[in-house]
């Protein structure tokens, strides 16, 4: 499937080990930046009870949901075992310092 890349800002707009929110018609999307400047995007809704993942503590390639501390993998949206569930994953890419997001979430993740 072809992705429609949308420029959403620059890498430096997102704090390291943090996230910013992109508001869209499909709801909020959380864009994360890891310690080594990788960027990931997830629907901003925890598979547990809908907590805003963008507000969580980012560590490694995971984020800890601020509501009940589920850990969600940034690169798949899957909850870390033993919890089960998944937040939709959005493709993102970096071109130089510019961050691009695609609004087509990965398939198979109902959340």
């Amino acid at each position: 499937m072809s992705e429609n890349w949308i420029e959403i800002g620059t890498l430096s707009d997102i704090p390291r080990l943090g996230a910013r929110v992109v508001e869209s018609k499909q709801g909020d999307i959380a864009v994360f930046r890891t310690a080594d400047d990788e960027v990931f995007a997830l629907r901003d809704k925890c598979p547990h009870k809908g907590g805003p993942l963008s507000q969580g503590i980012v560590h490694g390639k995971r984020v800890a949901c601020p509501l009940h501390d589920w850990k969600i993998n940034l690169d798949s949206g899957l909850a870390v075992a033993p919890d089960e569930g998944c937040a939709a994953y959005y493709p993102v890419k970096l071109e130089g310092d510019a961050v691009f997001l695609s609004l087509t979430p990965n398939e198979g993740c109902p959340n």
Partner: protein, 812 residues
């Protein structure tokens, strides 16, 4: 090519080590396992319930054969290793199977000791160790009537109970005059004996076996004193010996067990050993908890991480006979320099003995009601000074001003539907099911799988009791080995000390210096580290916003629907018409859904969107109000009554005192939320005796109280001291807060902290030692210089703008 790891012994310790290894280094080795038993890996301690008919073999499998396949482990089941060629690095099994290794792990367990009396090799004489033994016993129970169990220890009694459940007539022969004499004193031993006899067991004390009689098959047991007891089955449960035959044969240094160092290496550095077969610092162990600790350390070294040492364990015991509650731990026999505290209620069948030395708990024996076992165990491991609650200690934790749970704490009697963890809505049945279905052994496991005890932690004691109750035996680990989180081997205290000593001023430098196992920690350690760094270096430490929980990052409380609440400070609970008007205006302007008066005498506004926060703060700031820090691990409120100014009972100006306390302490960061109160007289309308620091004014001055908690687990304060001036109140308040700030673990409130370290320890530092008190107060004031900036004002003026604005708004 991958290195090769060979495990000899497919039991509980060896496989647990592999599990730990797979967690940290899943791809490092090609793994081969030799097990003399023809099964996957099962939970040996559950053989007793299997024998008693309460469980099936399938229910006690920990890892079935599929697990080995899934993890690419070659399992040679039913193959005993009979030789190791250490120079060629190869092991050889009895059927000729060979496997070479780069590293070898021995976990050969123990063998039951069989008394070499005449007749011991007769058909029908067995030990109690593995599935095979249980099968034989079940078979015997079908065909025969009489069984004799030699040995009235833990294992013997579990065997006897099981055989009786299977319909046999069982006689227990015990050499000593007390059952389970290694775990029980004579009183508890007698009580146990009585209830076992009531159930139908015959128990003969001081019964020494002379001979086992029979032709091919056993027929009876003859005692030294001439008595002869009919028996078609004899179970020997008189002790176990570390199984070191193979190690000895191939020249690995052994004493009582295979001798290992703190990294679980034998004298041959390529060969590791864990489990009951090892001897560590002179000790051999016969319970799973220490073995699991060994496994963890060993896995770490096999994974070449090179950190983690096993430093020995303290163990406790429970008997897995349904309906009999019994617990013992530590040194309960005592000696010349120890004292005994004893509680006995024969009609209820309850007995407790505690052995105390230098005001520390050394050992405990309990019979009939063991609910406090894990608490006593903690007191022992943590070497808590018990002088302050010594008179109540025998009655248990429920009687330490903990009116929250009281008698309902009887875990065993609780219904399955009883809620254990209120935060996560987990009930007893869920936890027990998870423990048995998922084969959990530790508190951490239960937290991970059920969420119980993973939030506020107040139900931790209950969960631990459930675990002990369900698993049997001891599951806990020695406290000095309890790391802050899975990212490190180090404890809270070690980390705090290192931060000071090595002058580490950022989270990064702590992680680097202390060799963190993860690249940037986790949601548990980062907030703790940030606090520790800032507490040690209020001036020079670097505060890392990304390591603060969202509440502290956004200076408002996140709520269940991802909106926020805001609570402005009201000094000492007082307010003015202007302030009320400003709050009302803000509430109207922003369409606030709920305006609520909090339990701490403040007004809260609920349902705000994140991007509205800076504007709201701006409006509140304009009216002179600052952040109430109601979201922080910080000073929250100082609750007051109206005191002398209005109240006919008031003895001092408690309101003004509260305001001064709050002006002094607002903005400070603490390990957990921190609340104060000041009441104008002993009627205590401000409820000062359930606060972290409470002042009760009296005619002659001020009584100071500490360590109270009004949360789930209510705890009334301990009396610290009385002082006569307001200046003193302020000095003590600052000093106490600073001791707590410097010494408690992150997320530990004053109540559990004081229970852990003992009130005496706190008094020593701030009541008995005036110089130290002044120094503490000075350090507190120093750090306040950097903390007392209104975070709302800064953000209203534009600080951290990115936190409150979306990165982008898309129309798509």
């Amino acid at each position: 090519m991958k290195e090769k790891l060979v495990l000899i012994g497919n039991g509980m310790a060896g496989v647990r080590t592999l599990e730990e290894l797979l967690k940290v280094a899943p791809d490092l080795y090609d793994i081969t396992v030799f097990g003399a038993e023809p099964y996957g890996n099962y939970n040996r301690i559950m053989l007793s319930p299997v024998l008693a008919g309460e469980k099936t073999i399938d229910e006690i499998m920990l890892n079935d054969e599929q697990w080995y396949i899934d993890n690419h482990i070659t399992l040679h089941k039913g193959k005993e290793v009979i030789n190791i060629d250490r120079s060629a690095q190869k092991v050889i099994a009895s059927d000729g199977t060979k496997a070479s290794y780069d590293r070898l792990l021995m976990a050969t367990g123990s063998t039951p000791f069989i008394i070499p009396c005449p007749g011991h090799e007769l058909e029908g004489v067995i030990g109690f160790r593995d599935i095979h033994d249980v099968d034989k016993m079940l078979e015997a129970a079908k065909q025969h009537q009489h069984a004799v169990v030699i040995g009235g220890g833990l294992l013997g009694l579990e065997a006897a109970n099981g055989l009786m459940q299977q319909g046999m007539k069982v006689t227990v022969l015990h050499l000593m005059d007390t059952l389970m004499e290694r775990q029980l004193d004579s009183v508890a031993g007698k009580m146990l004996r009585k209830s076992l006899e009531d159930r139908g067991l015959e128990i003969l004390m001081q019964a020494s076996t002379k001979e086992i009689k029979g032709q091919d098959h056993v027929q009876s047991v003859l005692l030294e004193d001439g008595r002869e007891i009919p028996a078609e089955l004899v179970v020997m449960a008189v002790g176990i010996r570390p199984n070191i035959a193979l190690a000895e044969k191939v020249g690995i240094h052994c004493e009582r067990g295979i001798v290992v160092n703190d990294t679980m290496q034998t004298f041959d550095p390529k060969v590791y050993a864990v489990g009951e077969c090892v001897q560590h610092r002179g000790q051999v162990y016969g319970l799973v908890a220490p073995l699991f600790e060994m496994g963890k350390v060993c896995a770490n070294h096999l994974a070449k991480m090179g950190i983690g040492r096993y430093e020995g364990s303290m163990t406790s015991t429970k008997l897995k006979v349904t309906g009999i509650d019994l617990f013992s731990a530590g040194d309960f026999t005592g000696g010349e320099d120890t004292e005994e505290l004893v509680f006995q209620d024969a009609s209820r069948g309850v007995y407790r003995k505690l052995v105390v030395q230098d005001n520390k708990l050394k050992g405990a024996v309990m019979y009939g009601d063991t609910i406090d076992g894990s608490w006593y165990f903690d007191l022992m491991r943590d070497a808590t000074d018990i002088s302050d609650f010594r008179e109540n200690i025998l009655f248990g934790q429920a009687h330490l001003g903990d009116s929250g749970h009281g008698d309902e704490n009887r875990i065993a009697m609780m219904a399955d539907s009883a809620e254990i963890c209120g935060c996560n809505g987990v009930c007893k049945g869920d936890i027990v099911k998870a423990i048995t279905d998922k084969k959990l052994f530790t508190l951490e496991d239960v937290r991970a799988h059920t969420k119980a005890s993973s939030s506020c932690g107040s139900c931790t004691g209950l969960v631990e009791s459930l675990l002990a109750h369900t698993v049997g035996g001891d599951y806990s680990v020695a406290p000095h080995l309890k790391p802050l989180c899975a990212c490190t081997e180090h404890t809270h205290d070690e980390i705090r000390a290192t931060i000071k000593e090595k002058e580490l001023k950022s989270i990064r430098s702590v992680m680097d210096f202390m060799e963190w196992k993860t690249p940037d920690g986790c949601s548990k350690c980062r907030p703790a580290l940030n606090y520790y760094v800032m507490c040690a270096w209020p001036d020079a430490g670097s505060d890392d916003g990304q390591s603060r929980f969202i509440n502290e990052r956004a200076h408002a409380n996140i709520q269940k629907d991802a909106t926020y609440s805001v609570i402005p400070r009201m000094w000492g609970g007082g307010t003015t018409p202007e302030e009320l008007r400003a709050i009302a205006d803000v509430a109207e302007k922003f369409n606030v859904k709920t305006v609520h008066v909090t339990g701490g005498q403040r007004i809260a506004l609920y349902g705000l969107k994140k991007h509205e926060l800076p504007v709201i703060w701006n409006d509140l700031n304009q009216a002179g109000m600052v952040s109430g820090h109601a979201y922080g691990k910080a000073l929250r409120t100082v609750k007051t009554c109206v005191g002398k100014e209005w109240c006919r009972f008031g003895t001092q100006d408690s309101t003004q005192l509260g305001i001064e306390l709050e002006k002094m302490t607002w903005g400070s960061w603490t390990p957990h939320k921190y609340k104060m109160a000041a009441s104008g007289c002993p009627r205590n309308c401000a409820e000062a005796t359930i606060k972290d620091f409470g002042v009760v004014c009296v005619d002659s001055g001020y009584e100071l109280h500490v360590g109270g908690n009004g949360g789930i687990k209510v705890r009334a304060t301990d009396f610290l001291c009385a002082v006569s001036t307001e200046e003193e109140v302020l000095e003590y308040a600052a000093a106490f807060m600073q001791v707590y700030r410097e010494q408690a673990h992150y997320l530990e409130r004053t109540a559990p902290w004081i229970e852990r370290v003992g009130l005496a320890h706190v008094k020593e530092q701030i009541v008995d030692d005036a110089d130290n008190r002044v120094a503490l107060a000075e350090r507190f004031h120093f750090s306040q210089k950097f903390a007392q900036d209104d975070p709302w004002q800064q953000r209203a003026q534009g600080a951290e703008k990115h936190e409150f604005e979306p990165l982008k708004q898309l129309n798509a």
